[in-house]
C-alpha cells in the first residue's frame, strides 16, 4: 500500500534536500567573490572529505582507520582509484578477519 501521508513526507524530504542543494549556489549570486570568499570556497572539497572520512573511520574502529590509510597510500603511489579501493577494502577485510 502506498500511503498519501507517507508520500507527502517523502516529497517534503525531497524539497528540503533540493533546498540544500540549490540555496548555497543561489545565495552566492549576491556575494562578491573576494579573495577571502574565494579561499573559503577553495578549502571546501578537502574540508568536506575530511569531515566525512575522519569521524567515519573512527566509528569503524581500527579496521576503518587502517583501511583508509592504506587507500590514501595506494592512491598516492599509483594514482589509480581502483587500486586504492582494493588496498583499502583489502586491509579492512584482513584486519576484521584477524580481529
Amino acid at each position: 500500500m502506498t500511503d498519501a501521508l507517507d508520500v507527502t513526507v517523502i516529497v517534503l524530504m525531497a524539497l528540503a534536500t533540493v533546498l540544500c542543494r540549490t540555496f548555497g549556489y543561489f545565495a552566492m549570486s549576491y556575494v562578491d567573490l573576494t579573495p577571502r570568499i574565494r579561499r573559503g570556497l577553495e578549502a571546501l572539497p578537502g574540508a568536506v572529505v575530511v569531515s566525512i572520512v575522519l569521524p567515519g573511520a573512527i566509528t569503524a574502529g581500527v579496521a576503518g582507520v587502517l583501511g583508509i590509510l592504506a587507500a590514501v597510500l595506494a592512491m598516492w603511489w599509483t594514482r589509480r582509484d581502483i587500486l586504492a579501493l582494493v588496498a583499502g577494502c583489502g586491509t579492512v577485510i584482513l584486519v576484521r578477519a584477524i580481529a
Binding site: L33, G40, I52, C89
Partner: protein, 235 residues
C-alpha cells in the same frame, strides 16, 4: 585556486563522468540495497522506498529519516523527519556555493537541474577531474550523477524485496567502500600542505563535534570550520 574561467558542459564530459563513477557503483549498490531493506523493515511500501531514493537521492539522510519514521503521522513527527533530512544534508548548501564560480554563466535551466542531482561523490569527482586533467566540465557532474542515481534508485528494489541479501556485508568491507573511495580522493585534490591547513581545522572540528555531540552535526561543523579557516588564513 578557483579558476575564474567558466566551466564547460559537454557530452564528452558526461561520458567521462559516467566512467569516473564506475568504481563507486559496487559500494552504492550495497548501500542502496541496505536502504531498501531498512525501508521494508520500517514499514514503507516498495513504491515508497523507490520514490524516496529517486526523489531524495541522499543516502545518509534517508536512513536518518527512517530512524525517525513514526506512523501514524503527526505534524510534529513529520516536521522532525523533514528537519532531520535538512540537517544531514546541510553540507550541500556549502557544496553548492562552491559550484557558483563553475556555473554562473549557465542559464538557470541548466545550472539548477545540475545542482538538484549533486551528491558528495559527483561533487568531489568534479574537483578531482579538474586537478588531474585540468578539465573544468560540469558534464562530469551530470554523468556521475546520472550513473549514481540510476544504481541508487534501482538498488532499493532488491533490498526491499529480498531483505538482507548480503548477510554479512562487514566481512567483505562493503559497508566501508564509499568511505574508502572518499578518503582516496584526498590525494588528487591535494594542493600542498599550505592549502591543506583548513582541512586540518575541518578534521579537528569534525572529530570533536562527533565525539561531543550525538547526531549528524559533525559533517556540517567540520566543513564550515574548514571554509572559515580557508577564508581567514592567508595564501
Amino acid at each position: 585556486m578557483i579558476n575564474a574561467t567558466p566551466a564547460r558542459l559537454t557530452g564528452a564530459g558526461v561520458r567521462l563522468g559516467v566512467t569516473m563513477a564506475l568504481p563507486l557503483l559496487p559500494g552504492v549498490l550495497v548501500f542502496g540495497m541496505s536502504f531498501g531493506t531498512v525501508a521494508q523493515q520500517t514499514g514503507l511500501s516498495l513504491v515508497e522506498a523507490v520514490l524516496m531514493s529517486a526523489l531524495v537521492f541522499a543516502g545518509a539522510s534517508q536512513l536518518a529519516a527512517l530512524s525517525a519514521w513514526q506512523t501514524p503521522w503527526t505534524p510534529l513527527g513529520a516536521a522532525t523527519v523533514v528537519l532531520l533530512v535538512f540537517v544531514v544534508n546541510s553540507r550541500l548548501i556549502l557544496m553548492g556555493a562552491a559550484l557558483h564560480p563553475w556555473m554562473s554563466h549557465l542559464p538557470w535551466h541548466k545550472s539548477y537541474p545540475l545542482l538538484a542531482v549533486t551528491t558528495d561523490s559527483s561533487w568531489v569527482t568534479l574537483f578531482r577531474a579538474e586537478a588531474e586533467h585540468g578539465r573544468r566540465d560540469v558534464g562530469i557532474l551530470a554523468g556521475t550523477a546520472l550513473c549514481l542515481w540510476t544504481v541508487w534508485t534501482l538498488s532499493a528494489i532488491p533490498g526491499w524485496w529480498f531483505g538482507a541479501i548480503v548477510t554479512d556485508p562487514k566481512r567483505f568491507a562493503l559497508d566501508l567502500v564509499v568511505l574508502v573511495f572518499f578518503a582516496a580522493m584526498l590525494v588528487p585534490i591535494w594542493k600542498g600542505a599550505r592549502k591543506a591547513r583548513p582541512w586540518a581545522v575541518a578534521g579537528v572540528v569534525a572529530l570533536a563535534v562527533h565525539l561531543l555531540v550525538p547526531g549528524p552535526f559533525h559533517v556540517l561543523a567540520g566543513t564550515l570550520a574548514g571554509a572559515l579557516a580557508g577564508a581567514l588564513f592567508d595564501d
